[in-house]
């Protein structure tokens, strides 16, 4: 599909017990490509992107991230996780550490960076998400939107080549969605490869190179945003779009 993809998923199948949650997933993500994954809840969107950084095991198929192959036995987990950053729905900041410590923990302990360098890098990314003045606060003292921006900065401090977003704005108050989406748009404009699970169709229209629609563990339809929204092909896609775009 794409020449020299950075993420390549082929024949991916996953079961929770007897429940077939991902079925024959094939998708390539090009370098710098932005993909929005949407679909009804329970369709396997989150499970799919969690397979990419091995937070979930899978039983069949293969995932290659930047030439590192992740088979079902997940032997090269650590290498893959170094390439892939992730932002979660519930932020998952470490509540016992300050914002700055959240952002320096992994560089210091997983990359063996000296503390000074790690702090400088962290401050650089905190400035990029526009909250450097909050560096010494604890996550519990910040708003949801600020916390999610810290989470983005924290993932960026590890210099990932791919960023995964698992419904990053779903847990936010409506007033705070925009600040997080703006941060993600900035990131996209800088050329980061992004896989975003979201229901923000405005974001998909504005930023995505490709929109992927999933249902019942399968990819139903994938297309450019313009075509996807104006001219959906599959009946299931049409139904989904009619539900959310009213």
């Amino acid at each position: 599909m794409t020449a020299n993809p950075i993420v390549s998923i082929a024949g991916l199948n996953k079961w929770y017990g007897d429940f077939h949650v991902l079925r024959d997933i094939d998708i390539d993500v090009g370098r710098g490509e932005r993909i929005v994954i949407c679909g009804p809840s329970g369709s396997g969107k989150s499970t799919l992107i969690r397979c990419i950084n091995a937070l979930e095991e899978f039983q069949e198929g293969r995932i290659v991230v930047d030439d590192i192959e992740l088979g079902p036995n997940l032997r090269r987990v650590d290498e893959v996780r170094r390439e892939v950053g992730m932002v979660f729905q519930s932020f998952n900041l470490f509540p016992h550490l300050t914002v700055l410590e959240n952002c320096t923990l992994a560089p210091i302990w997983a990359r063996n960076l000296p503390k000074k360098d790690a702090e400088a890098t962290a401050m650089k990314y905190l400035e990029r998400v526009k909250i450097p003045q909050q560096a010494n606060k604890y996550p519990g003292q910040m708003s949801g939107g600020q916390q999610q921006r810290v989470a983005i900065a924290r993932a960026l401090t590890m210099n990932p080549k791919v960023m995964l977003f698992d419904e990053p704005t779903s847990a936010l108050d409506p007033e705070m969605v925009k600040e997080v989406l703006d941060t993600m748009v900035d990131l996209a404009n800088e050329g980061m490869t992004m896989l975003v699970v979201t229901h923000e169709m405005g974001f998909a229209r504005e930023v995505a190179d490709r929109v992927v629609f999933m249902d019942a563990g399968q990819i139903i339809e994938a297309n450019t945003p313009a075509n996807f929204f104006a001219n959906p092909q599959h009946a299931r896609t049409k139904l989904f779009l009619s539900q959310i775009l009213r």
Partner: protein, 511 residues
């Protein structure tokens, strides 16, 4: 009504916040709203005041007003001599005070106990005050250095070698026991061969094989034993051994931490540590036999209470953490071991553990291999407390959302680092009240060691009751009041300090 029917409403100016009416705050507010706000509450307040008055007044009367403050023996504390009803008999405490603190520790050597207490306070206090710097070095000194120093200070005795000699001794003991076991098996095989040729031959060759392995091991460690023998023969065994160990350990550390590129700090640190050990050896004269040995059977009083409880508290934490993690492990063998261990130790009373450790364990150990009675009790208590702590800590681990582990994994942190940096700090914070609860319970449970012939504070007190010089009607009450105050001071201190730590560590929960 007209106002309410108007639907559209636009506020013209925002309302400023103003202070609450005076009557709900301050002392008067407290009295009115909490103590005297309803007829029932007024009754309860009056009843409580009467109860409090009777308790406090009676205690003050017994402990201070009616108390006898000086005297040489029981006669001072008798009502007919004092001329009034006698309360606390403080001269009894004065007379027995040193016993309560030191037990039967020889009087001339008691400075060693004092010095140990002093060292402990000097190392512990800075550790407990959050503002002071150098926590890592301080903790290292208190948890690693201090126990060793305290052992040689309190117990006495010296050393005739260092790590190299100990390792050589241990290994050569091990190999010779392997050889012995092998020859025993082969002899058994030979005698069995008279009745059953095949089985005898099998057993004989098995024994021969085992002794062969033992002999091979013996040759394998020959360089080490040779070096150790040379060191022992040199006349300055301790110092040469220390130097050799220091060099070996430092070079190993230097190499492991990345050599010349980043390794200078560990090297300097390691050499400084060994220099510190050297200074301790000189000061305590360990290479020349050390201080006179004071057998642990002579220890007693607060000394034993503190040694047992501090060791128990400090040792139970790593045991508890390891067991709690083990119980949640995905590896079946580790999980089964942890569950069995925890349930076994929690399923038996502490008294049984102490009895077993003191009187039955020696029967199972090989002859000539003895462990000091106090140490046996210490190990029993540490493992017992560890099993309890494990369950408390497991409660904390369960409170950590899965997302925390996932976030740490997604950042590329390994299981060990995730556990040490993200999960455990949060889990332990959650369970500080439970942990301190166990600490306090353990501190008081140490009085059970008196049933295995160790005289802790309470044991020493009970022993002193049998002294006819001080047999008065109030001796018993005075003694228990005094030790009760000591126990209370320690437990209350722990409780207060834990509150302080909780408030400080939970700063992140204040929004």
């Amino acid at each position: 009504m007209n106002e309410m029917t108007r639907i559209a409403y636009v506020r013209q100016e925002l309302v400023e916040g103003r202070p609450a009416p005076v009557k709900t705050t301050g002392v008067i507010g407290f009295l009115r709203t909490r103590l005297l706000n309803s007829p029932t509450n007024i009754l309860i307040t009056i009843a409580s005041a009467v109860l409090l008055w009777s308790i406090i007044a009676a205690s003050i009367k017994f402990l201070l007003v009616d108390a006898v403050w000086s005297g040489k023996d029981r006669t001072a504390c008798l009502a007919e001599n004092a001329g009034h009803p006698v309360g606390a008999c403080w001269p009894f405490i004065q007379a027995k005070f040193s016993q309560f603190i030191y037990g039967f520790y020889p009087e001339a050597q008691r400075w060693r106990v004092n010095l140990t207490f002093f060292l402990a306070a000097m190392l512990l206090l800075p550790l407990l005050i959050p503002r002071l710097p150098a926590k890592a070095i301080n903790a290292g000194l208190f948890f690693l250095g201090f126990p060793v120093v305290a052992f040689f200070l309190l117990h006495g005795g010296g050393i005739d070698g260092f790590a190299l000699s100990w390792a050589a001794n241990l290994l050569s003991d091990f190999t010779s026991s392997v050889v012995e076991a092998g020859s025993a098996v082969s002899r058994a095989g030979a005698s069995l061969g008279e009745r059953n040729a095949l089985l005898g031959l099998l057993l004989h060759s098995l024994g021969w094989l085992v002794s062969g392995i033992g002999a091979a091991l013996h040759y394998l460690i020959a360089p080490l034993t040779w070096t150790s023998n040379q060191i022992q023969a040199s006349g300055q065994a301790v110092w040469i051994d220390l130097a050799a160990t220091a060099a070996a350990a430092s070079i190993l550390l230097f190499w492991l931490s990345g050599g010349t590129r980043t390794g200078w700090r560990p090297l300097v640190f390691s050499l400084l540590s060994f220099a510190g050990i050297g200074i301790v050896i000189v000061v305590l004269g360990l290479d020349r036999g050390g201080l006179p040995v004071v057998d642990t059977r002579l220890w007693g009083g607060l000394l034993v209470t503190l040694v047992v409880s501090v060791t128990g508290i400090v040792a139970s934490m790593p045991v508890g953490i390891a067991l709690a993690l083990g119980r949640r492990s995905t590896i079946p063998l580790i999980r089964i071991f942890s569950v069995t261990f925890i349930e076994l130790w929690r399923g038996v009373p502490l008294i049984t553990v102490l009895f077993f450790a003191t009187y039955m364990l020696p029967l199972f150990l090989p002859a000539g291999f003895s462990v000091d009675g106090l140490v046996r009790a210490l190990i029993g208590i540490a493992l017992f407390a560890g099993a309890y702590q494990a369950e408390v800590i497991r409660g904390g681990l369960q409170a950590i959302p899965r997302g925390q582990v996932e976030a740490a994994s997604a950042l590329g942190l390994s299981w060990w680092k995730t556990t040490a940096l993200v999960v455990m700090p949060q889990a332990l914070r959650h369970v500080i009240p439970g942990l301190v609860n166990s600490f306090i319970a353990l501190f008081k449970d140490t009085s059970l060691v008196s049933i295995v012939a160790l005289f802790d504070l309470l044991g020493q007190l009970r022993a002193s009751f049998s002294d006819p010089t001080w047999a008065t009607p109030t001796t018993l009450f005075t003694g228990f009041a005094f030790t009760g105050m000591i126990y209370f001071a320690f437990c209350f201190g722990m409780s207060r300090y834990s509150l302080l730590v909780e408030n400080r560590l939970n700063a992140h929960r204040r929004n």
